[in-house]
């Protein structure tokens, strides 16, 4: 087990390192730079060159990379070229919107996906099961933007129950308003993620129903539902957990789009405007943080999977 964790840890570090190089050098290919954006349409070429020099953009690109990685090792993401504020501070502030949004979406997704997935598996031969499965198929194909617009027009504009955009100025100092402003965005992501999760749960549960141990449990007198819930569910949960790594990457991609739609001041929206400004230290920091979150979740899922599944534990020790 320890060897397993060490290998995974080494892979994680290697993954982060490769990601840092990919992020840094891909961004250097983008046309245009921050000096031009700061200068705008009124600056002379001499002024732009002066801005470029003062920001250190004329330095060797490999030196710049070495500086950045050196900073990363000390948990220092550098300063924004546009505002001069530390990138890490900015990201931490935006994560206070994006992380709760992702968590809330995950909760919505799990609440929808797992129970309905199990129900549709148990009733797979009945009309109600088929309806659930088909709706999930359809829902999973809905673009987040469209779902968001529908939710906005229903709950925001027609019923006026919830705010359609924005986040309270004082952030989490106004917890009621903060949560209210996250409900529609979280539903937008959560419902779609839930539909994906539902299909996952359904096929895992269907497989479990066909297994000997569930049939045996049914044979000794449990109802089929009971048998599945008692003996099949742990196995279903295993495949759900292993799909969570991908699901969370999906949640984060969803957050980028949905933050734009609902004008939430989160990491995704900041990323879009940073790319527009060519504020590369911030873009690097944003993407690296997102990559690190996805890789860390993957790492945690691997370990959790290993710990929960007794079959894998035995394989290692033998």
């Amino acid at each position: 087990m320890i060897r397993f964790i060490i290998t995974r840890l080494l892979l994680l570090v290697l993954g982060l390192f490769v990601a840092s190089a990919l992020i840094f050098f891909t961004l250097r290919v983008l046309p245009g730079d921050v000096a031009q954006v700061i200068g705008g349409t009124q600056a002379t070429p001499a002024q732009i060159e002066a801005i470029r020099r003062s920001l250190g953009l004329d330095r060797n690109v490999f030196l710049q990379y070495a500086d950045w990685v050196g900073g990363l090792l000390r948990f220092n993401l550098g300063d924004s070229l546009v505002t001069g504020t530390p990138v890490a501070t900015e990201i931490a502030e935006k994560l206070s919107v994006t992380l709760p949004l992702a968590l809330l979406s995950l909760v919505v997704g799990l609440l929808i996906g797992i129970p309905l997935g199990v129900v549709s598996a148990i009733r797979h031969a009945k009309a109600s099961g088929a309806v659930i499965a088909i709706s999930a198929q359809a829902l999973a194909a809905v673009p987040a933007v469209w779902a968001g617009v529908l939710l906005i027009s229903l709950f925001g504009l027609a019923l006026r129950w919830l705010p359609t955009q924005g986040f309270p100025l004082d952030g989490w100092d106004e917890p009621g308003r903060a949560i209210r402003s996250l409900i529609l965005p979280a539903l937008t992501i959560g419902v779609i993620e839930g539909a994906v999760l539902l299909r996952f749960t359904r096929s895992a549960a269907l497989e479990a129903i066909g297994q000997d141990y569930v049939r045996t449990a049914a044979a000794i007198g449990l109802t089929k539902t009971r048998a599945l819930l008692t003996h099949g569910l742990p196995n279903v949960m295993l495949s759900v957990i292993s799909s969570l790594g991908l699901q969370i990457a999906g949640l984060i991609v969803g957050a980028v789009i949905v933050e734009q739609l609902f004008q939430l001041p989160g990491l995704g929206r900041m990323l879009v405007s940073d790319v527009g400004n060519r504020d590369l230290p911030k873009v690097q920091g944003d993407i690296f943080t997102l990559t690190a979150i996805v890789l860390l979740v993957g790492f945690a899922v691997d370990i959790a999977h290993r710990l929960i599944d007794p079959r894998q534990r035995t394989e290692v020790s033998s």
Binding site: V37, G84, Q165, P265
Partner: protein
Amino acid sequence: MALRLGKQSHLGKKTTGRRVLVAASIAVTAALVMTGCTGGGDNAGTLPTVNVGLILEPTNLDIRTTPGIAIDQVLIDNVYQGLVGRTPTNDIVDVIAKSHSVSDDGLTYTFPLNSGISFGDGTKLTADDVVWSIDQVRTNEAYAGNADLADVASVKKDGDDTIVITLSKPNSNLLWALSGRAGLVLEKAATNTLKTTANGTGPYKLSSWKQGDSLTLVRNPDYWGDKAKVGKIVFRYITDPSAQANALVNGDTVVQTQFDATLTKQLESDPDLVVHRGKTTDKYTLAFNNAVAPFTDLRVRQAIRQAIDVKAILKTIGGAGVAQGGPIPQIDPGYQNLDSVDAYDPENAKKLLAAAGQTNLNLTLTIPNVYGTTVADVLVSQLAAVGITLKVDSVEFATWLNDVYTNHDFQLSYVDHAESHDFGNWANPEYYFGYNNPTVQALYAESLAATDPAVVTAKLEEAAKIVANDAPAEWLYTATTLTVIKKGVTGFPTDSTTARLNLAKLSVKS
């Protein structure tokens, strides 16, 4: 087996527990939904808070080194003030200066100062602050407005309450320049970071800036003039037009500037929202790269202008603009109606192209993606009608700055030139237009050197006419800007709101 059954009952309990938990969390959420209703009124005493929707957010707040109107819009007049300022229709007014006078030779400008002025941080304003501020811009090439002060020979104080600016040669644009970045007065002794904070003499103080979201001003209780009637102004940056409409209908904002004219129907459900139309100097310019073929041929440039039906374009943008036949918009000096020059005439356009030997022309239009493609689509079909195939290349603004503005690597470009008094771009052969006409350059120089305003206007008119006849671009339209204001909100300007928003007189009827 017994063990397993035991586990089962345990699981049963757990499920009930979970159910209670889920029910509880739903109840809590519901309670929050019910109770957490509507904000507003915050803590700035009994004075109201006004939420204003804007589109373009500043990249940073450095009024000295970061050009761009997004900073001017929120900070000039409200937080920073200059010796002189400008009205929404671009007339010059005194602000920190009590009055101003110009000597007959046009070389000496005298500004007696108002008394009792202090900065937002409480420090009294002195004549030294004014001299220092203008000298900073004058001597530092990286400062916005530096080029506007090229003719200034000295800035001095005469006693403690008068400023005298001496020029090396007359410059009719000086007062205009001083009403912009070049004339703003900052505190010499202040040490605040300009990129994220601001300290000026205006009726409001900058309270906070949440990047990517909002910027908040609070009333300056010690303002030297008439104090503000609202406690707090929150500028919310909302780029998506539908989200702007939703915010208005929902009451999240009570004012929205630069509203999309094609979406006014969405506001009809709220009879208290009034749409105001205002003038701007936003010149939506389809520029040709005059330095390269085929645009070196006058006939090709004229043909493109004549192939374009401006009326049809105005229709697609919901009527939010007026035709602009030449380089100068209506509210700038030197404007004259030049709509008849190269007016819409597709048949003649075809003849011109045939005469130029360009019957099968393939052109590329580079357009920043912030403008959408509605207008570009119309251009494609209008140019197709005269035999020109137009490819639209929609790029990020940063890419446009790099390829078109800096490297002049383009054929046709479409952007909004929002600045007022920017005719000088047509007299600058280095500008991305690549337009080089020595007569125009000489006339512009003469207009700057003139001391009589009538001569200034006459020279600009003459130059503008030559530019229009040279067809270096098609001026598609000057934008009419839509400001949506909720009834009860008064004192919000509706002209030139894309450049300035003087909110000193803003008030709300409760």
